[in-house]
Amino acid sequence: MTATFVLDGVARRYTVPGDRPWRRVPRLALDGVDLTVPAGRDLAIVGASGAGKSTLLRLLLALEAPDAGTVAFRGDAVTPRAPGALRRAVGVVAQDPGSSLDPRLPVGASLREPLECLAVPGNHGARVAELLDAVGLDPAVADRRPAGFSGGERQRIALARALAARPAVLVGDEPFSAVDPTTRRRLVTLVGDLARASGTQLLLVTHDLGIAQRLCADVAVLDAGRVVETGPVDDVFARPVADATRTLLDAVLPVGAR
C-alpha cells in the first residue's frame, strides 16, 4: 500500500529577527528530514518549540515548497502550485479557532465553504447539520457567528469544518493547546471517536505527550530540524533513544499523587 506521505531530504530555510529591529538573519528550520507516514497509521509529531514541527506541517500540506528535497502524497510529488489530490484528501484543524474561522460568516456558511469549494455532491445544508450534530452542537447554531461561541465550541466547529468533505487524513496543528484542560479532554475524546468512526487517518502536531499517546499509534520526534526518532508511541516513550525524546519525557510534570 502506498504511504500517505513520504518526505525525502526535506530542508527549509527562513529568516528570523537579527541584532537590530530592521535586520533579519537566515535560519534552517528543517535540515534534511526523511519521514514516511504509512497509510492507516495515526502519527503524532512531537518536539520542542523551534524544532520545526509547524514548518514540517506546512510542507506536508503543500502550503510551502521545500528549499531542498521532495514531499510526496500517496506516491505523487506535491508542491503549492500542484497539490494534486492533497487538498481534497486532507482536512486541517489549526491551533486557534478564534483566528481560523471567519468572524464575519455564520458558522453554517463556514462549514459549507469546503463543501462548495471541493464541489462535494449531496445536500450541503443537511451535511452541515449532520456535522454540527457530530461534534456535539445543536444544528440550530448554524446561523450564529464565531464570536457567539466559547473557545471549546469554536474548536468543535473548526473540527467539523475540517471533516466536512470527508477527508482521508485529518491534520491537527496543536488543536488542543488553546483550550482549558477540561474542554481539552472532551475534544481529545471527540477527535479520537470521530476519526475512528470515519476511518480518517490522524496526523497530529502536539506538545502534549499524553495526548499523542492516546490518539496516535506512532510518534516522530523532531529536534533542531531533524527527525531524531520514530516508532510506535508506547515503545518510544518506554525506551527513548534520542536525547530530545528523553528531554520531552522528563519535562512532563506529574499531577500529584495517583
Partner: protein, 259 residues
C-alpha cells in the same frame, strides 16, 4: 508575634457590566508562602491575580479588602505597592516587554525607579539578574524579538524579582512555553523565590505546574472558592466535582510509560 500576611484578601467581590465575576473571595498569603489559583475558564482566576497585583482592568468594580504588604488596594490604582511590595509576571512576555528597547534598558527601569540606582549600578545589577536566570549578561544588549519565548519569560521573571518584592503574582507564566522550557522556567522561579524570600500567587491551568511549585491551592469556579488546602492533599483527594474534573483532565497529558 505572627508576621503580617503578604496579601490579605477579604470577601472580595469584583463585577463588570452588571455581572459578578468574583464573589466573596477570601485568601491569605503568608510570608514566603506559595499559592496556586486553579479553576476552569471563566472561574475568575486572572481577575483574582489582577486584584492582588492592583491591576484590575478598567470597567471593573471591586468591593471588600485587598491588603498587600500592608496597603489597601481596593479603590486605589495600586501603584503604591508595585516594585517592592508586589510584582507581576504575565503569560505572554512578548507583549509585556517593549519591542524596541534593549533588555538591559527594560530591566534597569524598575531598579532606577524603585531603588534609585544610578545608571552604572543599575547596569551591574542587570548583569546579575540575567546571570541569576542563567542568561548571558550580553543579552542586555539584545531586543525581545531576538530572544526565544523561554528566554523572554526568564527576562520577565528577572525584571519582576529585580526589586525583591514580597509577593510575586504570576498569571499562567508557562502557558506559552513548551514543556521542557516551562520546566526550566519553573526551576528558575523556584530558586528565585527562595533567594529573595518572595511569596507567590500563581494562576495556572496546569496541575502539573501547580504541584511542581505551589504548597497551597484555591480552586475557583464561577467566581467562588470551591475548595482550598495543601496541594498534595487536594490533588490526591479532590472533594469538589470541579476539582475532580480538573485532576482527571490533567492526567490526560501525562503519558503512561510501561517498561
Amino acid at each position: 508575634m505572627i508576621p503580617a500576611p503578604v496579601a490579605d484578601v477579604r470577601d472580595v467581590r469584583i463585577a463588570a457590566g452588571g455581572r459578578t465575576l468574583v464573589d466573596g473571595l477570601t485568601l491569605t498569603v503568608g510570608v514566603g508562602e506559595r499559592w496556586g489559583v486553579v479553576g476552569p475558564s471563566g472561574a475568575g482566576k486572572s481577575l483574582t491575580a489582577a486584584a492582588v497585583a492592583g491591576l484590575l482592568p478598567p470597567g471593573t468594580t471591586a468591593s471588600g479588602n485587598v491588603r498587600v504588604d500592608g496597603t489597601e488596594l481596593v479603590g486605589t490604582i495600586g501603584t503604591a505597592v508595585r516594585g517592592r511590595g508586589v510584582a507581576l509576571v504575565a503569560q505572554d512576555s512578548a507583549v509585556a516587554l517593549h519591542p524596541l528597547l534593549t533588555i538591559g534598558r527594560q530591566l534597569a527601569m524598575p531598579l532606577r525607579r524603585h531603588q534609585g540606582l544610578d545608571r552604572a549600578a543599575a547596569r551591574d545589577r542587570v548583569a546579575e539578574l540575567l546571570t541569576d536566570v542563567d542568561l548571558p549578561p550580553e543579552l542586555a544588549r539584545a531586543r525581545p524579538a531576538q530572544l526565544s519565548g523561554g528566554q523572554r519569560q526568564r527576562v520577565a521573571l528577572a525584571g519582576a524579582l529585580a526589586c525583591r518584592p514580597r509577593l510575586l503574582v504570576a498569571d499562567e507564566p508557562t502557558a506559552a512555553l513548551d514543556p521542557p522550557v516551562a520546566r526550566a522556567l519553573l526551576d528558575h522561579l523556584d530558586r528565585s523565590l527562595v533567594a529573595s524570600g518572595t511569596a507567590l500567587l500563581m494562576v495556572t491551568h496546569d496541575l502539573g505546574v501547580l504541584a511542581a511549585v505551589c504548597e497551597r491551592v484555591v480552586v475557583l469556579d464561577g467566581g467562588r472558592v470551591v475548595e482550598s488546602g495543601p496541594v498534595a492533599e487536594v490533588l490526591a483527594a479532590p472533594e469538589h466535582e470541579v476539582t475532580r474534573a480538573l485532576v482527571d483532565a490533567a492526567r490526560l497529558s501525562v503519558p503512561e510509560v510501561r517498561a
